[in-house]
Amino acid sequence: MALSRRLALLALLGALVVALTGSIWTVLAVNAVLLIGVAADLVLAGSVRSLRLSRSGDTAVRLGEPADVTLRISNPGTRRVRAVLRDAWPPSAGVARPRTSVDLPPGERRVITTELLPTRRGDRIAERVTVRSLGPMGLAARQGSHSAPWRVRVLPPFTSRKHLPSKLARLRDLDGRTAVLVRGQGTEFDSLREYVPGDDVRSIDWRATARAGDVVVRTWRPERDRRVLLVLDTGRTSAGRVGDAPRLDAAMDAALLLAALAARAGDRVDFIAHDRVLRAAVSGTSATELLPALVQAMAPLEPQLVEPDWEAIAAEILRRAPHRCLVVLLTALDPAPVEHGLLPVLPRLTRKHRVLLASVADPRIAEMAASRGDAEAVYDAAAGARAGLDRRRVTAALGRTGVTVVEGSPDDLPPRLADGYLALKAAGLL
């Protein structure tokens, strides 16, 4: 049950009537009339309980893009339902207008569209639909709630998509479509074809020429069908905010760009997210299915405030990658966790695999290191310099174990990681 503004205003008007008559009996009479009105409204209001609600609409949306969820509401009862309806979603679902008025004659149905503009990645679950059905006089309303479950998965935005065309162009330079005639590192035998003027004479295959009776050259192309394993660290260092979003989101962006690129390059991409336990995994997916599978797997991931268990992560990597592959560790380059957790297990990984470590750097630290002016700024600079020196030390230690380190701000990291991958591919180090 809920009372209306109209009832309160009528009671105020009643005060005027009471003031004019000046009798205590008028008070009783006015309130008795109001009470009867409220009772009549409650009895005559359309039933909320018997309403039928159903939902349909978007189940997944990229962060930053709008989603529509429609709510179908039908009135199987015999009374008209004049109601205000609240479709309750969590705040970060970004529902602009959660309340709607509906007028439902008996036997009819209405469709209400709730527009969502989510502000965070993850699953957004519709809470409940509350209906306030007003009586014919508008003095009081019946109120009740229905559970109409719906889930909208908010996917990572993949803002680094814009870098994909340029990186693909770089890839084509390496790829067989611009066949290279020079054998080198990172290339494999592609095919034999007839010599055309202009071809490098050093690429003539004399044995084949002798057999065919025509001059035949060998062509080469970059290696294909390599394996890439993306390892996303969801431990405590991934929770740190860089700018507006946690490190984890920037790492996801970089992972998505690399995955898109590697899939085009013909490599097989697997993915795991791990802190102390395995949080998500994608493996054995075809190139066309890869990106949707990855964003679905990444969407519900949240940073966990625990120290990642690198022993377990290394074991998981070795279990999932029995053959040589490129292991991309998306983590932070903080000295303590790397020196105590990651470095001891790295030899086991580098013995078999090529390891690339990608870290989201905080531009704020570079900004601090460059600050000058007063004492406060210089102390900031000293702390920033210390952080820079620590990272340099850790990077050097990682380099000694054969790990390539790529570091960049949230905007720079995805293209840099893609470049790092392309460089490895060009060098035939995959």
């Binding site: 809920a2 009372l3 503004r5 309160a8 009671a11 009643g14 005060a15 009471v18 003031a19 008559t21 000046g22 009798s23 205590i24 008028t26 008070v27 309130n31 909320v48 309980r49 309403l51 039928r52 609600l53 159903s54 939902r55 349909s56 189940t59 609240r86 309750a88 309340r99 965070r120 409940r128 639909v129 009740g144 709630s145 229905h146 559970s147 109409a148 479950p149 719906w150 740190g240 905010r241 860089v242 946690p246 490190r247 949240e302 932070a332 905080d362 704020r364 630290i365 601090m368 290191a369 000058r372 004492a375 210089v378 102390y379 900031d380 000293a382 920033g384 310099a385 820079g388 020196l389």
Partner: protein
């Protein structure tokens, strides 16, 4: 694009009423029990000299004793009622310790009944017993009657006290003064010309439940009060009524004000209920951790500043500058300071001791020196980059 249907979350009205049945029953029983207990204990009060009160200050014991002797005790609370209940031959007990209005006193003075005044107030004594004047007060203690009043003589030694009285000029009344203290009496009785008696007790404690058993108190009280058919017991507590003073605020306000205020209260209550009703439950959401990634570095900067750690700050700034300078001047990381200093000096065009002091010198003495050091390192680096 799948579709799901809804389920209602609230119970049916029928179920709600059913679930409320048991609590309503319990609350109803409690209300009935409280009402019953309140009704049963209605007679119990702690009022002084209340004929219904069983408390130490009450006078229920005396009332019971009087009723056993056939006296009808009628508690009254207003002076007209008192005058109406007590006619000729009856007794009227008045406890005037409380203030009593002049109008009430006039009504009582016109009564045809025998009066027993207990602890009379200064305003009551001149109207109801003008032949007496209050002298002093005396503590409650056992005293001998020492008078010719039959009731007192028969009772003998009794605990009396309170106000003491002496006799003023009389107009034919026969006044007996009993239980004397320093020449004044704590109990006095006057027989008027029309045969009525007016008895004055200095203190009501003689009549109370806890004092009645002392010495001859009970006998004195029964002798004074028990000879009548009806006893109107006028307790003036809570009957104070001031009609002579100025009018109260309520009398001055127009009569429509209170009903209007009441209706306004109802309206405000309805406004509160309208605004206070929640439109479904609040939706909660676990929020992500908000820790800036640079938090630890900023914390370190604050620690440096608070501790005044100029040595460490300078060491960090120099190490960072060296890390950038060494590759620029073509030295290896493991090169010794002398070689690095010489190479930097040669490249930048500054003197070797100058560069040595800047890169490997002592810690700055104060914050100003630290700021200067940072600036000079920047300048040196620029000079090396652009000689």
């Amino acid at each position: 694009m799948t579709t799901v249907t809804s389920t209602p979350l609230d119970p049916r009205a029928r179920d709600r009423i059913r679930s409320l049945r048991r609590p309503t029953l319990v609350v109803g029983l409690v209300v009935i029990a409280v009402a019953a207990i309140t009704y049963a204990r209605a007679g119990d009060s702690n009022a002084y000299l209340d004929p219904n009160a069983a408390s130490p200050a009450g006078a229920r014991a005396l009332r019971v004793l009087l009723e056993e002797r056939g006296v009808t005790v009628v508690p009254v609370t207003t002076s007209p009622a008192a005058a109406a209940e007590a006619g000729t031959g009856d007794a009227l007990l008045v406890d005037t310790a409380q203030d009593i209005s002049a109008k009430d006193l006039t009504v009582l003075a016109q009564s045809r009944a025998d009066l027993v005044l207990v602890d009379p107030s200064p305003s009551a004594l001149p109207v109801l017993a003008p032949w007496l004047q209050a002298v002093d007060t005396a503590p409650d203690e056992p005293r001998d009657a020492v008078c010719t009043l039959p009731a007192a003589v028969a009772a003998g030694r009794a605990v009396t006290g309170g106000l003491t009285f002496s006799e003023l000029a009389t107009h034919g009344e026969v006044v007996s003064l009993c239980y004397a203290v320093d020449g004044a009496a704590t109990v006095a009785q006057a027989r008027l010309l029309d045969g009525r008696t007016v008895t004055v007790l200095g203190s009501g404690s003689t009549l109370t439940n806890d004092q009645l058993a002392n010495e001859g108190d009970a006998a004195l009280a029964l002798n004074l009060l028990g000879a009548h058919r009806t006893l109107a017991w006028y307790v003036t507590t809570n009957t104070v009524e001031d009609t002579s003073g100025t009018a109260s605020l309520g009398d001055l306000l127009p009569r429509w004000v209170y009903p209007t205020l009441l209706q306004l209260f109802v309206a405000v209550l309805l406004l509160v209920l309208w605004q206070g009703r929640r439109f479904g439950s609040v939706v909660t959401e676990p929020l992500p951790v908000v820790v800036r990634a640079a938090e630890a570095t900023e914390g370190r900067a604050r620690l440096y500043r608070r501790a005044g750690a100029r040595d460490r700050a300078a060491q960090n700034l120099r190490a960072a500058a060296l890390a950038r300078l060494i590759p620029l001047v073509g030295q290896s990381r493991a090169a010794n300071p002398a070689a690095v200093t010489e190479a930097v000096a040669a490249r930048s065009g500054r003197t070797v001791p100058d560069v040595g002091a800047l890169l490997y010198g002592a810690a700055p003495a104060d914050d100003a020196a630290l700021v200067r050091l940072a600036h000079e390192l920047d300048v040196l680096e620029r000079m090396v980059r652009h000689p």
